[in-house]
Symmetry: C2
Subunit: 239 residues, 2 copies
């Protein structure tokens, strides 16, 4: 597949954006780098004239942008989501830098849908939003002032994805048949029901265990085959 | 020298900027990447409240920004200036991409002052402005819509410089005692005077020949030693 076809499979997801101007500027950033898909989760104001103005020649990307009530909804169909976060966090995986994130996104987009996820201008992404992503990235910045504008961060990320997509990728980062977002959520829901039925899980507060399992599955980057295998295991155990 | 010290020697020069918001956003972009110096050539409006607003936490960079009546003035003291241009041009040298420009700027900043030069939002840099620069760069973009916002382009360029400055540089790109902008201009002015005196040059229209010599000298990346040598040659010839 060509690099351009891989770029077409990369969506940018903006979560809880406060300033519509940043949505427009992000659309412009995407389009200049050959990306075409923008997903918005609970934007404060959209559509908005300020978004239109800052989008400049990328009005088509705003027109085709999808609006979602949750990040999970915006990630439908993805095999890889990379959360961009400015703050160092206590995460299960090391942070990728922007170039590594671009390489990973481009490599995975050869096989399926990929999302780059950006949080609110002030607060970034919440922990439960980051938990929906398989990998985390941070754009290296000056420790004294690391506050990139949202659209500027999107521009840097898209630039790195474009660079990586348009050059040969020497190695693969994940199974070709990676499980989708939904595959994993369905598996988790089934496992949760089974554990409740067995009295292992308090149905009033099942959250913690499910969260840990989600983190584990995403860290492992499950294949579809492995998801089927786990369904088989659960089915056998719950009999 | 450390990568941070190299970053401190890289200035960004914005020529003929129309929108003060872009000046503010560019200042923010610089500061996030650990760059600290902004030079403005004939900005349409500066200072301006819109620049302040978009600069966010980078007000100090706007306060210390220098304003110049010509690009030549803004390049004073530099040993290398890289012109960023969106359009393919008939230039004497191949275009660098953003990563190559970042590597070159970081490598040269280990030896002295470096400038990254950006033109007007609509018209870019004029040919006589590009001619003042030793190298040219273009941020790769989608052929269908290559119009990066000015501050977004500055962000990408600064990101690439930072990446290059903070990793070891394996090789050198130019003589350690590279001639400064002024060294070359003084040499050119002297040569021009000598040629006029000899009747080789029409003092009413000396432009074309001087321009060609400037292009030649910049392409060669003269060292100070070579500038001295050329002064000696001119002095000997004009006797």
């Amino acid at each position: 597949m060509t690099g351009g076809a891989a770029l077409a499979r990369v969506r940018v997801v903006l979560v809880g954006t406060s300033h519509p101007g940043n949505i427009g500027a992000a659309a412009r950033a995407l389009k200049t780098m050959g990306l075409a898909r923008l997903a918005l989760v609970n934007p404060r104001r959209f559509p908005d004239p300020e978004a239109d103005a800052r989008a400049s020649g990328a009005a088509d990307l705003l027109a085709s942008a999808t609006v979602h009530a949750s990040l999970a909804d915006a990630l439908a169909g993805t095999r890889l989501a990379i959360a961009f976060t400015a703050r160092p966090r206590d995460l299960a995986l090391p942070m990728l830098d922007a170039a590594q994130a671009g390489e990973l996104a481009a490599a995975d987009a050869a096989h399926g849908e990929v999302a780059l996820v950006f949080g609110n201008e002030t607060y970034g992404l919440a922990n439960d939003e980051i938990a929906l992503c398989q990998r985390y990235a941070r754009i290296d910045a000056d420790p004294g002032y690391a506050s990139l504008n949202l659209a500027a961060a999107v521009q840097v990320a898209a630039h790195e994805v474009r660079k990586a997509a348009l050059r040969p990728v020497p190695r693969d980062y994940a199974p070709p048949d990676a499980a989708s977002h939904e595959d994993v959520e369905i598996l988790l829901a089934r496992l949760e029901r089974a554990l409740v039925a067995k009295g292992h899980l308090d149905p009033a507060d099942p959250k913690r265990l499910t969260e840990r399992l989600r983190t584990l599955f995403h860290r492992a980057r499950l294949s579809r085959t492995e998801v089927d295998l786990l369904h088989g295991v659960i089915g056998a155990l719950e009999k």
